[in-house]
Every structure is written in C-alpha cells, then in structure tokens.
Symmetry: C2
Subunit: 451 residues, 2 copies
C-alpha cells in the first residue's frame, strides 16, 4: 500500500507528487491564478493553480470551489519561506467530492457567541478552534504518559454516585430506574431500597481513588464531572473533565512536588508538540518556557489574603480566596503559585488538619499565572478515624452515607494525599483563552446542552 500523504509531513515530500484529501477553507483567485487554502486535519497548506500549467477543466474546477468543498488534490510540494507553514503545493489535478449547495454559514464575517455555539459542529473546523483542541489533546496525552512513567494506575471512578464529595446545591440528580413499569421492576426483583432511588452525577472521583490506593498505591482517574452551575460566567461549565490523582504514603509537601512535576511535564509536551498551534493562538511561549526551570513558590493562605488586601480587595483573614483574589494574586507571579494551609472550616471535610495549627488544613490550591487562577486543588487526607468522624459530626454529615469511606480508615489506614486538576482550566491557561467555553469540544452550560 502506498503511504498516505498528510500536510504535517510536507517536509518529507519536497518536490514529490502527493495526493491531498481534505477541505477548502479559504480561496482567492485572479484571471490566471487561484490560491486554495487547504486543510486535511493535520495542518494547513496553500495550493496554487496556475491557468496555463493545468488543463482548462482543472482551472475551472478550482474557480468553482467554495468554502468547505471536499476535494482530493494532486500536486507537488515545494518549500516556500513566505508560506506560514513553510510549504506550498503546485496543484496538478483536482477531484471534487462535494461542493456545498448552500453557502457555508461560518464565512468570513464575525459571529456572536450564540451563533458560534449553535454551530459548534462546524465552528470546530476554524483554525483557532483546531489549534485549541490540538493543545487540549496534547495536555491529555501528556497527563497519561507522565502518570504512566510515575507508576500511577488508572482507576475509573463511577459517574453515577449515591452521594456528593462536595456541596449539594450543584448536583445533577438522575432517577436510577427510569421509565420502568412496576411489573418490570417486580419481575427483576429489584433490591434497591427504594424504587424512587436517585443517583447523582459525580463531582469528583477522589473518595473512590482513596479506596483504590490500598490496592494500587498510586492511582488516578480522568473523566467527566458535573456541576449544575447557576452562574453564567466565563469560567463555568456544567460538564467538564477532571483528573484526580491519589497516592499512599505521600504527605502534603510531596503532594505539591508531584503537582509541580505534572504541570511541568504538561507544559513541556505542549511546547514540544504544538508550536504551530500556539502560534495560531498568538500565545507568547516565552512566558510558558520560563516556567520550566523555575521552582513554584509556596505561600500560606494568610499571606495570600494579605496580598489581596493590599490590592484593596475586601476579604477576611479566614475567607476562601475566590476568583477575584486568585486573579489578583496570580497576576503577581510569572509561574504557577501554591497557596497552602487554608482555614479548616472553609474546606472539604476530608482534609487533614495541620499538626502545627489545627485550625488550618494541609491543603493547597495551585494558581496559574497571568490571572488565570486555580488549576489544581489538593490536600493530605485525614487518615485518623476518630478525628475524621468527629469533624464530620461537627459538620452535621450523615456518617451512614460514608460507612464505606470510613472503612478505609478502619482497615490499614495510612498517610495519603491527592489532588484534582481541571482540564478546561489548563487548556484555557495554556492557550490563554478569554472564555472556558472554547476549551471543550461541545460545551454544556447553564442554558445549553446542544448540539
């Protein structure tokens, strides 16, 4: 079988005749020459059709092509320093698969966000969206390959869960036995306590990962999580992807070191694999490159609050940071920065108290620079059964719902830590996106679950 040609491999095909299968994403022509901007999924290249170098039919075909026509084009690859990709194609022949009968809706003019989101299935084809999804892919693959090197085992946490790791106001309930007749249910001898059982879409796989560390030592998950967000902001999605990692016998300091190593592995992979994409996004890569050799600073929550107060933000000593404070603080750093040891009462029940100050926990957020804010949240977990249950009771939690989780402290409890990284936040930061909605292929928000 002849090896296929892809635009990304142009450098290996100089002066060779190739067959390009793809789409016309732009076009201009004069009386004697036509320039076709071509795309095949792996990259972009300009094809040139010169009237007196091709058959009259071929030149006519070139002139008739419209945006998003699908084509199989034969031509010669040449180096061209003026071309953005460094290569051009001298077109010899054009086979048209389809010329759209209607005008392509996403033409040259500017469109509002609603129009673009309604046409997300087509919008994904634009150069900028192509670049973002390629960077997203590079981040995903970097996470998998880095965690593989570090010996983490993927444990897929369930999506349908009986209770929530965090909060309850943003849960999506799912009737667990939908559309079943009583007869059907009887026949199957359903053993669920109630036929009106309700499950909830997972907001984090962490508690399940804590169960798996006693089997595998180091584990991670990477899947969709859900929040029925009531806010329509540039940072909120109802459905987004999270990776959680959890490791046995790892304490707070080492937990932060693991996070730093992961973020650097991700940055390095994206810089190596996506120069064209970052160029399309007009991303200043020096800022990203500089991070690779620097140690991420660690500052205490107390100091972080003081920094925010200095910027005239009204915020109390024991408040959570919030988006505004995070932006202010992360703008002051040229690397990601760890904020550690938050007040115990504002953080999740499972975080371990700081032995040096029991009113604070051994946790950290990791804020991306340039005002992007939180990309990771992590902590050492409370491994003492008595301390954990005492605190849960103080929070009025129903211990019965967490019996299985408490078992992990009854049978072979160990010091352990973990963290969760939001994929869309990482994409938004690395691509420097204004709005998180561009960071995911098909965004779900307050008012949208289509297309």
């Amino acid at each position: 079988m002849e090896s296929k040609f892809f635009i990304k491999d142009s450098k290996d095909f100089i002066a060779k005749k190739v067959e390009l299968k793809g789409w016309v994403y732009n076009k201009r022509s004069s009386g004697s020459i036509a320039f076709l901007q071509l795309r095949d999924g792996t990259g972009f290249i300009q094809g040139v059709v010169v009237k007196n170098e091709v058959s009259p039919t071929t030149f006519e075909t070139a002139r008739n092509l419209t945006l998003e026509s699908s084509v199989i084009i034969t031509g010669l690859i040449r180096e061209d320093k003026r071309a953005p990709s460094g290569y051009e194609m001298s077109i010899v022949n054009i086979k048209t698969l389809q010329i759209p009968k209607e005008e392509y809706p996403l033409g040259k003019k500017d469109h509002g966000p609603d129009f673009l989101l309604n046409n997300r299935h087509l919008w994904l084809r634009s150069k900028r969206q192509w670049a973002i999804q390629r960077v997203r892919h590079a981040i995903i693959y970097a996470i998998y390959s880095h965690l593989e090197e570090e010996g983490f085992i993927k444990i897929d946490a369930p999506i349908l869960t009986p209770s929530a790791a965090e909060g309850t106001t943003t849960l999506f309930p799912v009737p667990y036995l939908p559309a079943w007749s009583d007869e059907e249910l009887d026949k199957e001898e359903i053993t669920l306590k109630s036929q009106n059982a309700v499950a909830y879409l997972s907001q984090s796989g962490q508690l399940y990962l804590e169960a798996a560390i006693a089997a595998h030592g180091k584990v991670f998950d990477f899947g969709p999580t859900f929040r029925a967000e009531k806010s329509k902001t540039r940072r909120h999605l109802s459905e987004f992807w999270m990776m959680d990692a959890e490791a046995a016998f790892v304490e707070h300091e080492e937990n932060m070191a693991t996070q730093e190593k992961l973020i650097k592995a991700i940055l390095k992979a994206v810089l190596d694999k996506c120069p064209e994409e970052l160029n399309i996004l007009e991303r200043d890569t020096t800022i990203l490159k500089n991070i690779l050799d620097k140690k991420f600073p660690i500052i205490n929550h107390q100091e972080a609050i003081k920094l925010a107060q200095k910027e005239n933000l009204s915020i109390g000593q024991r408040d959570d940071l919030g988006a505004e404070a995070e932006t202010l603080i992360s703008n002051k750093f040229d690397t990601p920065v760890f904020i550690q040891k938050y007040p115990k009462e504002i953080k999740a029940f499972y975080m371990k108290a700081d032995p040096k100050d029991s009113s604070r926990v051994l946790n950290n957020d990791l804020l991306a620079p340039e005002g992007f804010g939180e990309i990771i949240g992590g902590s050492q977990r409370e491994d003492n059964l008595e301390k954990l249950t005492a605190w849960m009771k103080e929070l009025n939690m129903n211990l019965k719902d967490y019996e299985w989780y408490l078992d992990l402290r009854r049978f072979g409890s160990i010091p352990h830590s973990g963290f969760g990284a939001g994929l869309e936040r990482l994409v938004a930061w690395i691509c420097k996106l204004e709005h998180v909605r561009e960071s995911i292929p098909f965004p779900r928000m307050l008012d949208r679950f289509t297309p």
Copy 2:
C-alpha cells in the same frame, strides 16, 4: 532524597536494605518464625521474621499483626526461586501504622457476590481484583499510546446530550435544571426552550466524532457511556467505558484493518506488561500470543447465520446475531473474527449501504474468541445527504433533532468510517472473566449504584 523502594523493583535491590511501606494481606507463624505476605500496590512479596534474628519486640509485633495492618518494614531483599515473585524479604524491623480494631471483613472464607460488591472498596485489594485492574489499566494505556502513534486526536464527546444515537428505552434522563427556583431561573434569563428540559446520558460519542473529523481527520473519544439496562446478566452494566474512533477518507475495509491493528497493539501491551497479573488470573497466554501473528478472518453475516443454524440455533437469515449466536461462532475461532455486512434494517440509521447489495450495510462486529462475543462494532457511515435523510424518514426519525448532524453531509461531506470498543468487554476477554462486573472498579448495575 533517597529513592523509594517498591516491590516491583525487587530485582534491583538484591542484598540491599530497603524500607517497604504497605499492608499485610496474609500471615502465618509458628513458634520461632513468622511469614508475612506483604503488598505495596506495585506487587506482592513474602517477608520472613526469624525469632532469634530480631529483637523480641519486633517478633512480638510481627505476631500481633492482623490482616490489612498497615506497616513500614525494614528488611533485606533476597532472591528465592521458590517464592512466586522470585524474591523474599528478611525482616529486620517493623513499624506498625495501624492494626485494625475489627476483623477484616474479607477474610479467608468464600463470600457471595452481593457481599463482595457491597464491599467493593475493600474487595479491590484482593490479588485477583488487583490483577484485573492492572490489566484494565494496561489496556487503557495501550489504546492511548497506539492512537497517539496513529495520529488520532482525542475529542471528548459530551455526556449530557439532547438525543440518543441508539434506541431510547435504555436512556437515563437527567432534568437539566435541577432544584432551581423559578426566581433563580428568571434572574438568569434561561434561554432553554423549556424549563423542564431533559438531557440524556450519552450512549455513544460517535455522532460528535463525525463532526470533529472535518477539523482533525482522525479522532477518538474514551469515556463513560450509560444504559439503563433492564437485564441482570453477566454481560450487562449500566455504566461502562467506551472508546470510539472515527476517521475521514477511510472506508469499510481500512476501518477493519484499523480495528485489527488496535486489538493487536492492546494484546501485545498486556502480554508485555502484565505477565504476573495474567499468571494470578491463571490466564492461558499462549492463546493470546497466537493471535498476534494471525490475520483476523472476515465472514459475512449470511455465513455467520449459517454457522449458528448448523449448531441448531433457531435464527433467521436477516436476524441480528445476539449473544448466543456470537458465543457459538466465536467458539469456532482462535482469533477475533469480523462479521460484516448485516441486514440494513436491523442496524443503526447512519450506516452506509453496501453498493453491491443495498439491503445490507458496510458494517462489522468484531467477536473475541473463546465464546466472548462482541468487543467492537464499526461501520462506514452514510455520507450522502439524500440517501441518509430518505432512510431516516423511513425509520420515522425526527430530522429536526439531527439538523447539526446533517450539516456534516451538507458542508464538505466525505467517505468516513469508525468503530466503538467496549473497555469492560476487552478486560473480560483478556482476563477471561466469568462476569463483566469484575472488569470495572465500581460496577453499576440494575440494582446497584453503591458504594
């Protein structure tokens, strides 16, 4: 920092003193010697405590340890051909982190499946479950790294979707605006058509991948999918993981070749990385190894039906195969086998008709041998707008719900194909599991969404 010791690296630590952090998973002792079966997540090793070689306290500590005690043990690694792992540890010192106050519920006696599933958070620690999840991880990573080599870009298809790719009786509905007051909804100026909007949990990402190929050429997803299954069989889960792949300019034959290459890459990775795990599972690896060098046979649906009929199965010429027929057929082969070109009327609407017989489609199932049945389903997709809509109308489908999908045939339509592989089916086959419930960390079934 001293490099940490993990059991999997024992061969590099022969005659060296190491610190093992882990759990006691079994124990036996006589008057003067104690054997501790130890686990650290990366593997298993036997530790030996000889009374007159350690302090009286250490020997007493060893004797007091019970199942699932967490420990930090110092000792010397020695080669021992009799040991299952090939290594043993001469214990010098034991630091106990926790001796469980209660007896470990999953002791030696046999437990029923309900008891085990109720204690899934602990059951995962057993040697067999450890091995299964490690194989599962190896399969997942093999899929990612093979698709990376092949140039596929991950496009995360949405989980909350407006309509279903297949069937509607097994859908999980999700009220899209849960627990919101009218006031809240008014304030946010919700633009959803109805405040009673219902989304459905995805059953396949395929249609979304078809949108993404025009941007990226070759794409895949890998995430949870959901079926509100009414059957409680050894093959059914309500929540399971699927990978879908889709590629532009790929037709039926090449689609099957892509599947074969992927399956072989997965098998090779598992055989390379998981010999200990397959040994624990008592899996006959020669059967798996033999597959690597063989071409997978391709047989027509018609022939498959005849094969099943010869085995006295009551099945018609235009019937779907079903689990029983799949088992019969796949038992006749020592490699996976492709069954292609099913009757059009029994398959999904998007499959392309066979140009040689328009009553059949250019699809395939891939059946695993040893009676395991379907592990992959794939097809070339209908790329002609008129043919597609005519068939959808015949099936009484509401074209309005698919406008965005039809756009893909309006703007730059191209021949394309794809397939979906069920992760749990792959795990069940490669590990040779009786029941699919062991193949996923936290199974969700008809009557269970806990722990």
